[in-house]
């Protein structure tokens, strides 16, 4: 069983990378390098330090942005779920924000905040916050009415109701919101680096593209996709460990 868990993903990776290699050698386009060249480029960039340096500057605003969303976004979403007043004035905004293509306002950020760290953090927050807030809100709202009534029947205070029933019940959805937020944050940071502040991994992509170093460009693209996928997969596993479906009572 344990072996099978690794065998299937491995086969699928070999298959995909094999196809990539074939397509690159055929070649379908001069700008599309085979897998082997891309892998070598990835190695080169790692050794010469350009990739680690780029990631340092990409991950810093990403982490800051996600932590901000994690604190303020979750807090706000919980507030929205608990208080009719907060819900009344902010729910419409977040419904619109969640549906709107927020990436479109990233260029606007440059006008106001320039091209520094602040702008990048904001790009992450703008994309990630709506889903983080909405998930926390929904988690609180979908609370189990029967458990809340039980808590009241046993003389629980409103505070105990929130801390002992509503929040644990919403935990899984809130965490899932954070995971979706991280996925949006990756999109936000790459867009920001491609469009407004030529630094980090986005800059690496656009630079190598402009000088026609296609293996390097693909290596950079591949690395950020792989990193995002791994990070989100990791969070998903953590989520299942922290909130096993049978005891989360959703």
């Amino acid at each position: 069983m344990a072996q099978q868990r690794f065998v299937w993903p491995l086969i699928s990776f070999v298959f995909v990378f094999g196809l990539w290699e074939l397509a690159g050698r055929w070649p379908i386009s001069l700008a599309f390098p085979p897998f082997s060249k891309t892998a070598l480029a990835l190695l080169r960039m790692t050794v010469d330090g350009s990739l680690p340096k780029a990631y340092l500057s990409t991950l810093q605003p990403l982490v800051i942005g996600i932590v901000l969303c994690g604190i303020a976004g979750i807090g706000f979403g919980i507030g929205m779920g608990l208080s009719r007043t907060i819900e009344w004035f902010s729910l419409p905004i977040f419904i619109i924000l969640q549906a709107a293509p927020m990436a479109a306002i990233i260029p606007l950020i440059t006008y106001i905040y320039g091209i520094g760290l602040t702008a990048k953090v904001l790009a992450v927050v703008v994309l990630a916050a709506p889903v983080v807030v909405m998930n926390s809100y929904k988690g609180i709202r979908n609370t189990n009415a029967s458990l809340v009534q039980m808590c009241r029947a046993f003389l629980g205070t409103r505070r105990q109701e929130v801390v002992k029933i509503i929040l644990p019940h919403a935990g899984a959805l809130i965490f899932a919101g954070l995971r979706l937020g991280l996925a949006m944050g990756f999109i936000g940071i790459v867009i920001a680096e491609l469009m407004i502040t030529p630094t980090g991994i986005g800059d690496l992509i656009s630079y190598h593209s402009s000088v026609a170093d296609y293996p390097e460009m693909f290596a950079a693209i591949f690395s950020i996709i792989a990193l995002a996928a791994l990070a989100i997969h990791g969070l998903e596993r953590l989520e299942r460990k922290l909130f096993p479906p049978e005891i989360r009572g959703a």
Partner: protein, 255 residues
């Protein structure tokens, strides 16, 4: 009335959303230390009435008095056993049973001690660290019962506590409940669908009419329990008469 009334319902009515009338003008007196059952067709407002007595739902009309005080919310002298168990899925049996005490600020050692005692009394010893999803329906109901007993309320309100167990287990629970109540000296209000259960357990049976629920009859089975075993009671003439009397009334409601 053999004993003084501990719960009095005076002209209680309830309309949900102003349209669905669940209860109309229900008046009842429940004797201290007795077991009263609410019996009636599905949807007649039994859960609603029980929750009004518990103070979980405000009545639209009338009032409820418990121990000489008007009810305006839940109180420490009442404990509820829920039809859908209402157990915390993320908490162990031990924490669930101790939850009422936890809400009251009892220290962990103390409340776990008390909870362990009741877990044993309801026959769940060895399941302290299990989670609700690992238990059968009947076991979950007993967790709910233990939780209600643990807070040491005088009045236990039970909403169909034996509905999700088979007939053999149900009979065993009924015996255990009677024994437990004798020892703990509780006043019990008990919702059931089962005529036999009502006749077997109750000192007083309140028959409700279909929605909007009104009191259609109050029966006091005078079954001599002393010294008899359960099977003898079930062959007792009084018991059989009560079952028949209830059936004659209820069958009019079945279409």
């Amino acid at each position: 009335m053999p004993a003084e009334a501990i719960v009095e319902v005076r002209g209680a009515g309830k309309s949900y959303d102003g349209t669905v009338e669940a209860l109309r003008d229900v008046s009842l007196a429940l004797p201290q230390g007795g077991l009263s059952t609410l019996l009636g067709p599905s949807g007649c407002g039994k859960t609603t009435l029980l929750k009004i007595i518990a103070g979980l739902i405000p009545p639209s009309a009338g009032e409820v008095w418990v121990k000489g005080k008007k009810v305006d919310g839940p109180g420490p002298e009442r404990a509820f056993v829920f039809q859908d168990f209402a157990l915390l899925p993320w908490a162990t049996v031990l924490r669930n049973v101790a939850f009422g005490l936890e809400l009251r600020g009892v220290t962990p050692e103390q409340r776990h001690d008390i909870a362990r005692g009741y877990i044993e009394k309801v026959g769940l010893k060895g399941f302290e660290t299990s989670y609700p999803h690992q238990l059968s329906g009947g076991m979950r109901q007993r967790v709910g019962l233990a939780r209600a007993l643990a807070v040491d309320a005088d009045i236990i309100l039970m909403d169909e506590p034996f509905s999700s167990v088979d007939e053999q287990t149900r009979r065993k629970f009924q015996e255990e409940l009677l024994d437990l109540l004798k020892i703990e000296r509780k006043t019990v209000i008990f919702v059931t669908h089962s005529i036999e259960e009502a006749a077997y357990l109750s000192d007083q049976i309140v028959l409700l009419s279909p929605r909007p629920g009104t009191v259609s009859r109050i029966i006091h089975p005078a079954i001599e329990r002393g010294g008899k075993n359960p099977d003898e009671i079930r062959r007792d003439k009084n018991y059989l008469d009560v079952v028949d009397e209830i059936w004659q009334i209820l069958k009019r409601y079945v279409v």
